[in-house]
């Protein structure tokens, strides 16, 4: 899918190159539209989890969704954030079909003074039929956040 080379794209491309394991899995950028990030995990024999069926391992999907939920932080509409993952939960709706890429789409749905809440889905043929759902929280480490604590801003932690 062709897309314009925006600043958000550049940030994601840079991070994908810097993260060694994303290179190992060959994770690709698809789009960075409206603060949402879409990545692709191409099918490969090396990420198979069940050799009888050729279905990819949940671990590869975990990495895809962890990457997608984390990488959306610097390009989300609320601003540019960064921080380590606090937790991640993945619900598997169905097994991925072998031989096909898995796509992941994520967004930030809440930013507080200290915590960033992110959610995403993984899908193959049809975005309306996700193969997995994911939620992740991150600790906010960007300097702006700690400096500009505004009164009355809800803060869960």
């Amino acid at each position: 899918m062709p897309h314009s080379n925006t600043k958000a794209d550049e940030i994601i491309q840079y991070m994908l190159k810097a993260v060694r394991h994303c290179q190992v899995l060959n994770i690709q950028l698809i789009s960075t539209d409206n603060g949402m990030l879409t990545l692709e995990l191409p099918y490969s024999n090396s990420i198979v989890g069940n050799p009888d069926t050729g279905v990819i391992h949940g671990g590869a999907l975990t990495t895809l969704m962890d990457t997608c939920c984390g990488f959306v932080m610097p390009i989300c509409q609320e601003g540019s954030f960064f921080g380590p993952t606090l937790d991640l939960r993945i619900d598997y709706m169905t097994a991925a079909q072998p031989g096909k890429s898995v796509f992941s789409r994520s967004e930030i749905y809440r930013v507080t003074d200290n915590v960033i809440f992110s959610k995403g889905i993984a899908y193959q043929d049809d975005i309306a039929k996700p193969i997995a759902h994911c939620v992740a929280t991150f600790m906010r480490m960007d300097t702006d956040a700690s400096k500009s604590k505004t009164k009355g801003t809800p803060d869960e932690h």
Partner: protein, 141 residues
């Protein structure tokens, strides 16, 4: 289930079982028997790096390692002869996973007829200082 997979389960041969799973080989999972029990090892590996600045292991790799450990634990301890399917997986990251060997141990908290609940702990230098804890539900049939 393939004969190779079934054989390795029956013989409790972890190495053989792990060798049948390409993803486990990609990130480099090994199994260490300790008496009647066993723990899992994720040896230091350059390809598993996520944050190049620290450097730290990719959170997804730690998740994949713990998920694999949980699956193998159920296959070896649970009363099942199928490859368990993950229903959900939830991981809490407690400390950065440094670029060194990591270990995991699992506990089969509950096994019902269809579903198993497994808790997994991952550490590096000291077991009392886990880098991540996780729990997963597996579908057995």
């Amino acid at each position: 289930m393939s004969t190779e997979l079934a054989d390795s389960m029956q013989q409790q041969d972890f190495e053989k079982l792990i060798n049948t799973i390409p993803y486990a080989q990609l990130i480099g999972i090994a199994c260490i028997p300790i008496g009647d029990h066993f723990i899992f090892k994720l040896p230091q590996h350059e390809g598993n790096i996520g944050n190049p600045a620290l450097p730290a292991i990719h959170g997804g790799v730690i998740g994949g390692f713990m998920e694999t450990a949980g699956i193998i634990h159920v296959m070896m301890n649970g009363e099942t002869n199928t490859v368990p399917k993950v229903i959900d997986f939830s991981i809490d990251y407690l400390r950065p996973g440094r670029d060194c060997d990591s270990f995991a141990r699992c506990e089969l908290v509950r096994q019902g007829r269809k579903i198993a609940n497994v808790s997994i702990t991952c550490w590096q230098t000291r077991v009392e200082k886990p880098i991540a804890t996780a729990r997963a539900h597996f579908l057995l049939s």
